[in-house]
Assembly symmetry: C2
Homo-oligomer: 181 residues x 2
């Protein structure tokens, strides 16, 4: 759970970073930004700010903001009924994104949130700069992180059913609970 005050502060900070990246954001869109703590209660370390720009029955366009040091937990997009699962293209708009997908790599473990080595299993590192993009097939585990600087990225995907995403960390609840405070 995060407090309403934390949620508002994260939302305002994310809106400012989206605009600083040159991305047009209406006032009502700014108010709709979701700060997601994945039920872990430590938004600054494991979480993301998410703006949904387009959401139809067929496609989804989102802008994600990661604050410095913030990590989107490892997850994947499973098959749902006749749908083969969400295909997602991630494109960096500003900052340097450290993206991890299935496989081995040269990365050390320093960036993994403390005590979470077992639930961040992907080790194939891709360092992404503005304009870089990756298309991820359904089912492939991934996680990503901002380090010294904030990151703004696009997510273009087939229909998003985020509440059905799989997460490696069993402590995760996808629906953010916002309390008073």
């Amino acid at each position: 759970m995060i407090t309403r005050g934390e949620h508002e502060a994260a939302r305002a900070r994310a809106a400012e970073l989206i605009r600083a990246a040159g991305i047009l954001l209406t006032e009502s869109e700014a108010r709709s930004i979701e700060a997601a703590d994945f039920g872990l209660g430590r938004l600054e370390r494991e979480g993301a700010q998410i703006l949904t720009v387009v959401q139809t029955e067929r496609i989804s366009v989102k802008v994600l903001v990661l604050f410095p040091g913030q990590t989107e937990p490892e997850h994947w997009h499973p098959r749902v009924g006749n749908d083969p699962g969400k295909e997602e293209t991630v494109r960096v708009a500003s900052g340097t994104l450290f993206f991890y997908r299935e496989g081995e790599g040269a990365r050390d473990d320093a960036s993994i949130p403390e005590g979470k080595r077992d639930v961040y299993t992907c080790r194939r590192e891709v360092v992404m700069h503005p304009g870089d993009q990756i298309t991820l097939p359904p089912g492939e585990k991934h996680w990503f992180q901002a380090r010294a600087e904030p990151v703004v990225l696009y997510s273009f995907s087939t229909v998003a059913r985020d509440v059905l995403d799989g997460f490696t960390d069993p402590a995760i609840e996808r629906v953010t609970k916002v309390g008073e405070g």
Copy 2:
């Protein structure tokens, strides 16, 4: 047909407008912009500049640029096999877009390209400003236009098979022919 010189000039002008709208564009993306004259040979009046950002088997993200007075001809996205047809969300990034979809409206005919009244049949006008967006179902005819100022817009859609689009104007060929010159 348009000449290579015209194509290069339109591409450079479009790249500048995309960047002026705050949209990140890599050098290789700038070189990939297509100036489409729809086979009509008068790009400045009927045509569009098109950057394909993402194109997978399932989704498509494009940035379109219209120069002042330029008109994207009336067309629709038909059913293709098991696919119900392309669903498209248009979002304005800069400028004022005059968008026409099926139905009646208050618009006069002044904006229709000369002698083309029969092949621009939609009369329901939507004036769109930056941040405005419309999701268009498959099969619905539409056309759109920039007037005094250039327009940069996003097109987020299910998979694009542009060569299969239907056009009201029988003179149209979707594949642009670029000649020497």
